[in-house]
């Protein structure tokens, strides 16, 4: 089903992305550029699944879709070692404080991807039990639509996040 819609992100190898020629004026800027580049090359997502979307997240990591092509294969079970939280699934009212605590325990800089309709908006479950979008409790950087999103959808969301980091947009700054 749905995917996040920027077809420009998945570029052919060797294609100019337009960022390589960034004119760097100060040393500070240069260092920031290098740091952002590094962050996108080795992101450690938090090993943490909630519901159905987590199965698609596992499929994304497994052999067929092979998330390690994007330097993302190391999932950390401890929030202290992770810098990306993929909220894969519906967040219940009982789980919400736990998600918040996990987010607080992650070290800066950190990013959040809301994977799936439930995490983004509550999805089909507009009822008493489900948090209507995880952005009620934590800031979200990228929303991936679909119920569940196809692995390609998640990958595109991740690439979108990489682009966001390279551009230097701060976590949660859009809110």
């Amino acid at each position: 089903m749905g995917t996040v819609g920027n077809p420009m992100i998945a570029m052919a190898p060797g294609q100019k992305t337009g960022e390589l020629g960034v004119a760097v004026t100060t040393l500070e800027e240069a260092l920031e550029w290098v740091a952002a580049w590094g962050r996108t090359r080795a992101m450690w997502p938090l090993l943490f699944g909630l519901a159905c979307c987590a199965i698609e997240m596992m499929a994304t990591q497994a052999s067929h879709y092979d998330l390690s092509r994007f330097g993302m294969e190391i999932m950390r079970a401890s929030p202290r070692q992770a810098d990306l939280m993929i909220v894969a699934g519906r967040v219940s009212r009982k789980m919400a404080p736990v998600v918040r605590r996990l987010y607080d325990q992650m070290t800066e800089p950190k990013w959040v991807i809301a994977m799936g309709d439930c995490a983004s908006t509550g999805g089909v479950f507009n009822n008493y039990a489900i948090v209507q979008g995880v952005d009620e409790i934590i800031p979200v950087d990228v929303y991936v639509s679909g119920c569940p999103p196809r692995p390609e959808g998640l990958i595109e969301g991740i690439l979108l996040l990489h682009e966001k980091i390279r551009k230097g947009t701060r976590s949660g700054s859009s809110r």
Binding site: A51, A59, A62, S92, K94, M95, V98, V124, F125, I130
Partner: protein
């Protein structure tokens, strides 16, 4: 205990009084929290483990972290619109959930399902069983540190998901079955795709088995671990492979055949010792039996309609809308209002990959059910965890959780 929003729920000693041993209250044993975010609890299960050194004294599961309110949600959906909700209960086997639900409604309304639809339902639910067991095997092996099995299992699972996508347009949340039959007939190329899968799979199952069955590490981690006796298993209402691992021959497909399962020949694999290893072997063997069923159903797949002609539960065919005013009105009424089963109650169970998945519907004669309840096998099987885990080492807990094959979406619903 009420949960206040914004707070992680903590236990007080008072609440734990009859759940853990007296020694824990005196502080002689350790109380350890496991989950809800833990790589091996298969979702958001939280366990409170009482340890004496490394030995488990008691385990207290704390569930509800994925409570979705699906049963309540069903009460204000029409009968057709509940089908997508059933997908999301046990998200590893949407086909079985769909089947249990539509068959319950069919029972309530006395609808006959064409044979072709029944056979296709059998093929798809058996494919679903294999897909679900593959996820189970992959994650279970991953928990006991066998990484490659996970990669192999997910490779084969993709083939099944491709078939599902072919028939329903979705990889996981299929919502393909309808009251009275199917959403549409299977597309061209379906039979070839299933045949290709049937051809490839037996060798692959042998491969998984070879990878693990003679592996000394695997044997030491699974043999004699997490034992449950047949008596205990029955007493706690355990069903599915977890029950059959203890040697109890109960399979809903054989005990109360539905959807023409009695037309096919298959065996019910049984274990002997009721340990983690036997449950593992039962599931591996079940995959082979599923292949057998699919093969028979595919070879004997009859031609004919894929959904009942009963206009009470099926919308009129699209072509008719162009020339028939009545059909147009009926179409409109069907999708806005839905259909109304007679008042009464019904229970129907199917053998899902995890055990007896049952649906109870209470109808008051309106287009929406008064009450829907799902008998979730994971929820019931989870009760047996404290018994299986008692007395074993803390490291074995992970193997035991994996061997019951719970899906938290189903436990909490």
């Amino acid at each position: 205990m009420a949960i206040r929003e914004g707070e992680v729920q903590e236990f007080t000693l008072e609440q734990l009084k009859h759940l853990v041993s007296e020694r824990a209250l005196r502080g002689e044993t350790i109380l350890l929290n496991m989950g809800p975010q833990h790589p091996s609890t298969h979702g958001v299960l939280r366990l409170l483990v009482e340890l004496d050194g490394e030995t488990i004294v008691s385990v207290v599961p704390d569930i509800g972290y994925l409570h979705t309110g699906i049963e309540k949600h069903c009460e204000h959906r029409t009968y057709t619109k509940i089908i997508p909700l059933t997908d999301r209960i046990d998200y590893l086997s949407p086909m079985s959930n769909n089947l249990a639900y539509v068959m319950a409604v069919e029972k309530l309304m006395g609808v006959e399902v064409p044979l072709r639809a029944q056979y296709i339902r059998v093929i798809l639910t058996e494919l679903q069983r294999i897909a679900s067991h593959l996820v189970w095997l992959g994650t279970h092996a991953l928990d006991i540190a066998a990484m490659s099995v996970f990669l192999y299992c997910f490779r084969e699972r993709e083939m099944i998901l491709d078939i599902f996508e072919m028939v329903s347009g979705q990889r996981m949340m299929v919502s393909y079955f309808r009251v009275g039959g199917l959403w549409r007939d299977v597309p061209e190329g379906f039979e070839e795709a299933v045949r290709a899968f049937l051809k490839l799979m037996p060798a692959r199952i042998n491969e998984y088995e070879r990878l693990l069955k003679k592996n000394p590490l695997w044997l030491r981690r699974t043999k004699g671990v997490g034992v449950i006796s047949p008596e205990d298993a029955i007493a706690w209402g355990v069903t599915g492979p977890s029950l059959r691992g203890s040697g109890v021959n109960y399979d809903v497909r054989k005990a109360q055949p539905y959807s023409s399962y009695d037309h096919f020949e298959f065996d019910v694999p049984l274990g002997e010792n009721g340990d983690v290893y036997d449950r593992f072997m039962v599931r591996i063997e079940e995959m082979r039996q599923s292949l057998r069923i699919i093969d028979q159903a595919l070879r004997r797949l009859p031609k004919g309609p894929y959904i009942t002609p009963d206009r009470k539960v099926t919308p009129p065919p699209k072509e008719e809308l162009a020339w028939s005013m009545e059909a147009l009105i009926h179409h409109f009424k069907f999708w806005t209002e839905g259909f109304s089963p007679p008042p009464g109650e019904v229970y129907h169970a199917v053998e899902s990959p995890r055990g007896e998945f049952g649906v109870y519907i209470n109808s008051d004669g309106s287009p929406r059910p008064r009450r829907v309840h799902f008998r979730a096998p994971s929820f019931v099987n989870l009760q047996a965890l404290p018994i299986m885990a008692k007395g074993s080492l803390v490291a074995d807990l992970v193997a035991i959780i994996g061997s019951i094959d719970i899906v938290l979406g189903e436990v909490d619903r």
